[in-house]
């Protein structure tokens, strides 16, 4: 069974065509990389897959049910999204923010129990923010805020993760750490994820599948080995790319025209 799929999706932002007739299936164990130049509509597509935006036509199905017809709470128990930016208007503590990930799993009036607290502590530890629990979120650095948002997603524990540039603001070690965590989670839990990325080599390292948004509604999708190659990348970004064979597969870097 696919966890998340869309059929004949037509998606536009104003006059920009993001994707035309896009059909996609995210099956358990698959880690999709979403590649495309700036402003092509990666975030819009992710929001549409999360059921936050209505497409011009086509449907999104969460475990075979139309996502727009499901209560948001049920959606949130199965699907979580890491947004590109997090803005905090009101101050709150790191612990309080991580615990919001438990929100969809708790009833009206219910409080977080020891089990929830344990999950929160584990997530903070996983992103190396243990010891930050009582700190204020407004005092965090960009990378720390990013890891905090990811920890909240871990605590939400969804089968489907939509990630909008999860490695933004992160140093190399934390990039590798978080991508590895997503991949391991998918493998062990039978989950799935799709991540908008700008780093082709992170996609080459960790993703099993690739979706490229080419502009004007065009797209290509499939297994990584079939999609992630020199001609496709040069077409996607409009700049020459060189392929290097590394120890664990092909890596890409730009060359001067």
């Amino acid at each position: 069974m696919t966890l998340l799929d869309c059929k004949h999706l037509d998606l536009r932002i104003g006059s920009i065509e993001v994707a035309a007739d896009l059909s996609l299936e995210l099956a358990p164990g698959e880690f999709w990389g979403l590649l495309g130049p700036n402003g092509i509509g990666k975030t819009t597509l992710l929001k549409c897959l999360a059921g936050l935006l209505t497409p011009a036509s086509g449907q999104v199905f969460l475990e075979s049910r139309d996502i727009t017809e499901l209560p948001r709470k049920l959606v949130a128990q199965h699907l979580g999204m890491l947004q590109q930016h997090t803005v905090y208007v009101f101050d709150s503590s790191v612990m309080q923010t991580v615990l919001t990930g438990r929100h969809p799993h708790l009833a009206y009036w219910e409080r977080e129990g020891p089990n929830d607290l344990q999950k929160a502590n584990e997530a903070l530890k996983a992103v190396e923010l243990d010891g930050f629990a009582q700190r204020s979120v407004t005092g965090l650095s960009g990378g720390e805020a990013r890891r905090l948002a990811f920890a909240a997603l871990l605590v939400q524990d969804p089968a489907i993760m939509l990630l909008d540039e999860p490695t933004n603001h992160l140093d190399l070690r934390h990039q590798v750490q978080i991508m590895g965590m997503i991949r391991d989670r998918i493998r062990h839990g039978g989950f799935t994820a799709i991540a908008a990325l700008h780093d082709i080599n992170l996609a080459a390292c960790y993703c099993s599948h690739i979706l490229m948004l080419l502009g004007n509604g065009g797209w290509v999708a499939g297994r990584r080995e079939a999609i992630l190659n020199q001609p496709n990348l040069e077409k996607l970004y409009g700049c020459p790319v060189e392929v290097i064979q590394g120890k664990d597969g092909a890596r890409f870097h730009p060359v001067e025209a």
């Binding site: 948001r72 979580g80 947004q83 803005v87 009101f90 503590s93 309080q96 919001t100 409080r111 005092g139």
Partner: protein, 327 residues
């Protein structure tokens, strides 16, 4: 997040402050009572001083406490609703409608006992105008709600100014007191207390949802909130709280803006702690301010709105400054 022990201590402290303020309000006034006279009055409601304490001071203190709690709670909700720390209970024009209706009633000489009902009717009209105009199709728009509310409030303000300029000199003083917020004739109708308790329970139950909502609509939806419904619910609840408060005591300023902030600085932004803390402190703060308003220049009475601002401003600036130092 505060540790549970400290949270409980704070809660008891706020309850004691609230109760203490009502006792103080019952003891202090332009007629000063000795200890013996006062206990006597408490025990014998029918005696001369008993009447003073039980029929005048305690009802007024109860009204003040309820209005303070209503406004503080409404302020908390409005700040989440508009996701703006500068929002106060009056920002979306609820009080404007209530004020206009009340002043109109005063101008044409409606009996004083009918003024609260008139205030409520004015508030309701304002709520309906803003609700129907800001709603529209498409997704929830905070900007549209804010603009509709603020512009509606300005419209009411213009009409109020018109009434003030046309009103007779004799009625002007009463109008001014009402606009500044005045508890002199305030009595606590049971339904006001009932709606405070009822709405508080609803809000306390959905406090976790409010926490999520404060992080923005998209985040809230991703965490499972039907934000459109929830935001309109918050708008309606906040408006009802404001309308109830204004119908009892006029436009008492500052409480609904300052108390939520003050409490956020002390207890943090988790609404499960913030809401009860703000309600209790708001009640205490207004009873205390009203007692000062009655006694500072006794037998003259000041409008309580002036006193709330005079105490609130330095208190708030002091706490804000200390919070910054701590960070």
């Amino acid at each position: 997040m505060m540790p549970t022990a400290r949270r409980r201590l704070l809660f008891y402290l706020l309850v004691i402050l609230s109760a203490g303020s009502i006792v103080l309000a019952a003891a202090a006034g332009s007629v000063s009572l000795g200890w013996e006279q006062w206990t006597n009055a408490l025990l014998h409601p029918d005696s001369e001083f008993g009447e003073l304490v039980w029929r005048l001071r305690i009802p007024r203190a109860a009204a003040a406490w309820t209005v303070g709690a209503l406004l503080s709670l409404s302020g908390c909700l409005m700040q989440v609703l508009l996701r703006n720390p500068l929002a106060d209970p009056y920002i979306l024009g609820v009080s404007g409608g209530a004020s206009f209706a009340t002043l109109l009633g005063m101008t044409v000489g409606v009996a004083a006992s009918l003024l609260p009902a008139l205030a409520w009717a004015g508030a309701l009209i304002s709520i309906l105008i803003v609700f129907s105009l800001a709603r529209g199709e498409g997704p929830w728009s905070r900007t549209r709600l804010l603009l509709t509310g603020v512009v509606t409030a300005s419209g009411w303000a213009a009409l109020i100014s018109l009434l003030l300029t046309m009103g007779s000199d004799s009625s002007l003083r009463g109008m001014l007191f009402w606009l500044l917020g005045d508890l002199s004739y305030a009595r606590l109708p049971p339904w006001a207390l009932a709606s405070l308790v009822f709405i508080f329970m609803i809000c306390f139950g959905m406090a976790r949802s409010l926490n999520v909502l404060a992080m923005g609509e998209t985040t809230a939806r991703l965490l499972g909130e039907p934000t459109r419904k929830l935001l309109w619910l918050v708008y309606l609840l906040a408006s009802i709280l404001t309308a109830t408060a204004v119908s009892i005591a006029g436009n008492i300023g500052f409480v609904g803006l300052i108390v939520p902030h003050l409490m956020r600085l002390i207890v943090g932004s988790d609404h499960r702690i913030l809401l009860p803390a703000a309600a209790l402190f708001g009640g205490f703060f207004l009873v205390f301010s009203d007692t000062l308003a009655r006694t500072l220049l006794a037998p003259r009475q000041l409008p309580v709105g002036v006193v709330t601002a005079l105490i609130g401003v330095p208190l708030f600036l002091l706490l804000l400054n200390r919070a910054r130092v701590k960070q």
